[in-house]
């Protein structure tokens, strides 16, 4: 057994999981507050990566930045820009596509959400094209800390270790995602606006009677969720260095699976689910089933929904026969 590969793949899993977790948070927050599966959310993430592409092209960035101060400034600009733009896009989507249907039968906003998803994909297709676009990787993907785990032997079971490289990109994405998740937790549980969000999720009418501005609260939820998806889009650009108009569909489905696995409506659960799904994906690839990793993820989704629809940390939400 090679512990090095295990740790290396664990790092890869954490990086992908960080992005899934950020996207899953948007799904779970929106579902928690208006009980809508926002099918367009994966595409918001995709648009976020294109916004980053546009920004870097406009700023004339060609490749890795080696000056640390410049790099930090650029990263701040990238995240601030993509998160703000995507947050506003999310608010616009909610305002024009979902709000008019808030009292309509459940099927109507679901169908609208699918429509919005296709509109976003095709707008990107029209502005760019269906090609795979290279995004300059501002953090040198080769740079990182390499180390080797000690080799040992337990009762004839040899554990070797090849060299592990913890690249700065991976470490940065994981740390940033965890920071964002913790900030979101504090926001939802410690602030007035967070309390408004929670009370709207529990009982919209009662919250309104208590003086909560429902429309602002729901718009805020969409802003935060979409901004996190935008951050995930920047993370994708940093990590992979390319993007395509259709990456949102798969990533969205996987993140939704993550949200369901963790317990939909539960922000901690969504983050946990994101990391779990990424581990499943990475390790099924490692074991030689990379062609099947998607099928495995969806099979997990179906299993969770059938056997434990409340997810790992969820409350009783999936009611009725």
């Amino acid at each position: 057994m090679d512990a090095g590969i295990l740790i290396q793949q664990g790092l890869n899993g954490l990086t992908i999981g960080a992005m899934y977790a950020l996207i899953a948070l948007g799904y779970t927050m929106v579902y928690g507050i208006i009980e809508l599966i926002n099918f367009a959310h994966g595409d918001v993430f995709m648009v976020g990566s294109f916004v980053t592409l546009w920004l870097l092209a406009t700023l004339g960035v060609q490749g890795a930045i080696n000056n640390p101060i410049l790099l930090v400034l650029l990263l701040i600009v990238m995240f601030a820009f993509s998160m703000t733009v995507m947050g506003l896009v999310g608010v616009l989507i909610e305002r024009f596509a979902y709000r008019p249907l808030r009292r309509a039968p459940r099927l109507a906003p679901l169908i609208t959400a699918i429509g919005v998803s296709f509109i976003l994909q095709n707008v990107i297709q029209a502005l760019y094209s269906t090609a795979d676009f290279n995004i300059p990787q501002v953090i040198d993907p080769q740079a990182g800390v390499s180390f080797t785990m000690p080799t040992f032997n337990v009762g004839g079971f040899a554990v070797t270790s090849s060299e592990v490289t913890a690249s700065y990109v991976h470490v940065f994405i994981i740390a940033l995602a965890i920071a964002m998740i913790i900030t979101l937790q504090l926001f939802v549980h410690r602030t007035r606006l967070g309390r408004a969000m929670r009370s709207t999720a529990i009982d919209r009418d009662a919250a309104q009677l208590m003086g909560v501005d429902i429309n602002t609260t729901i718009a805020l939820t969409f802003f935060i969720g979409s901004a996190l998806a935008g951050a995930a889009g920047v993370g994708w650009a940093l990590n992979y260095g390319h993007t395509k108009f259709d990456i949102g569909f798969q990533a969205g489905l996987k993140s939704f699976t993550a949200a369901v696995l963790g317990g939909i409506g539960n922000t901690t659960g969504a983050a946990l689910g994101g990391f779990l799904i990424a581990f499943v994906e990475v390790f099924s690839s490692q074991l030689g089933y990379s062609r099947w990793s998607e099928a495995i993820v969806f099979a997990i989704l179906i299993m969770v929904l059938v056997f434990k629809p409340t997810g790992i940390l969820g409350q009783q939400l999936a009611e009725r026969a």
Binding site: L36, A104, G115, F118, L253, R291, E319
Partner: protein, 405 residues
């Protein structure tokens, strides 16, 4: 009625007007005598309607705007292809329109039907079962998978079902793609046998006419069966479950069985379409059955008018023709106008360079959102569905009127 109005609108009771009224009203009774007759004799009206449509369509190309669009053979082939989508749409209508369940993995059952035919009649599998029994087998296999997927998942709430079916729709092509030794992987199974009839012989490749006529016959039979189902005890149960699941359950309807049957019947229609399509194209490959297929069929059902079989069929036909012919002609038309490109500083806009075919999914997306916001009952609504989709707003309006001093 003013003279202008009577010129613009048809005399009441004229057969054409009755036909349009039927189209608009779905299965609801219409008050003219002719309409009442066809209302009572659904099967007859399907046979008459399908015969008329089938007889007229091949000659549309002879009319002025269409003459330059291609040969008659191409047109008939296009109709035969459109028939596949009509079948898919009337099948999905049972699931989405009648039972109110959102199935986003509908293409999976289409794929299962198509691969069933590929196993039943191709050199790859060394079997040669004739086409007509394969239609039933394909439908049965698809229905079985529908039951297998539906049995555990239909207990879940509606929007979870949407995501489970979406996942299923993604898995099925992946499985067909990756199981190389069973399905020939990405290359797909080729050289499927053509359908044949006892006297006519094999349908062959050259002439699209037998495919066109047979798909019209399959659609007619499917529509008759679906109309009879819709007006049966089961059909009423579907609508009850759609409108209020809790109330339906307390009236003694077994909601899980009811939903499961809707799911299985929708799947079987999709399986029929799959068998027919694979026999027509003589090839099946995993790429034919992606999410865009499910999405397109959903757009067809929503545009046509959820719950109205004729409306959905018309919606599917119109969308297919727009997508296969309309956008192509639009390209040529706009290209022929010779509008010069506009250069305004950073803006470069060249209308003639736009390939409208690239934007079909954008159009579907806009259509879905627009329809849901403005006219959720579709272009040819079923009266009941319209009432249901509007009743919450109406109830709110009524309440507000009551509150007003």
């Amino acid at each position: 009625m003013s003279p202008l109005r009577s010129l613009l609108f048809w005399r009441s009771g004229s057969p054409f007007r009755v036909a349009v009224a039927r189209l608009r009203a779905g299965s609801q009774p219409v008050t003219t005598p002719t309409a009442r007759f066809f209302g009572r004799h659904q099967s007859l009206s399907v046979i008459v309607g399908m015969s008329i449509v089938t007889a007229i369509l091949p000659f549309v190309i002879l009319l002025p705007p269409f003459t330059g669009f291609g040969t008659q053979g191409d047109f008939i082939d296009g109709y035969a292809q459109a028939g596949v989508w009509v079948l898919l749409a009337i099948g999905l209508n049972v699931v989405v329109g009648l039972a109110g369940l959102l199935d986003l993995g509908y293409a999976a059952f289409f794929a299962i039907g198509a691969y069933t035919y590929a196993y039943g009649a191709s050199p790859f599998s060394h079997n040669h079962i004739p086409f007509w029994p394969m239609l039933l087998i394909g439908a049965a296999v698809a229905a079985t998978f529908g039951l297998l997927l539906g049995a555990p998942t239909l207990r879940l709430r509606g929007d979870y079902l949407a995501i489970v079916t979406l996942g299923f729709g993604e898995i099925v092509p992946v499985v067909f793609n990756n199981s190389d030794q069973y399905t020939n992987g990405t290359n797909g199974i080729t050289a499927l046998y053509q359908p044949s009839l006892p006297i006519y012989g094999s349908f062959g490749f050259g002439n699209p006419m037998p495919y066109y006529l047979s798909v019209a016959a399959i659609i007619a039979v499917a529509m008759i069966l679906l109309y009879r189902l819709q007006d049966s005890r089961l059909g009423r149960a579907w609508m009850a479950v759609r409108e209020d699941e809790l109330a339906a359950a307390s009236m003694g309807i077994n909601t899980v069985t009811t939903k499961l049957l809707a799911f299985a019947i929708g799947a079987s229609t999709s399986g029929l379409a799959g068998v027919y399509l694979s026999s027509k194209l003589a090839i099946v490959s995993p790429t034919q059955f992606g999410f865009t297929v499910s999405f397109t069929v959903l757009a067809m059902v929503v545009l046509g008018g959820m719950g109205n079989i004729w409306g959905v069929a018309a919606g599917a036909f119109i969308i297919y023709e727009i997508q296969s012919q309309g956008l192509k002609q639009l390209n040529q038309f706009v290209g022929g106008l010779g509008i010069p490109p506009i250069h305004l500083g950073p803006i470069n806009f060249d209308l003639t360079a736009i390939n409208f075919l690239d934007y079909q999914y954008l159009l579907y997306g806009l259509a879905l959102v627009g329809m849901m916001l403005l006219r959720p009952e579709g272009l040819f609504p079923s009266r009941r569905r319209r009432a249901e989709l509007h009743d919450i707003e109406d109830a709110v309006d009524a309440n507000q009127e009551l509150v007003q001093p």
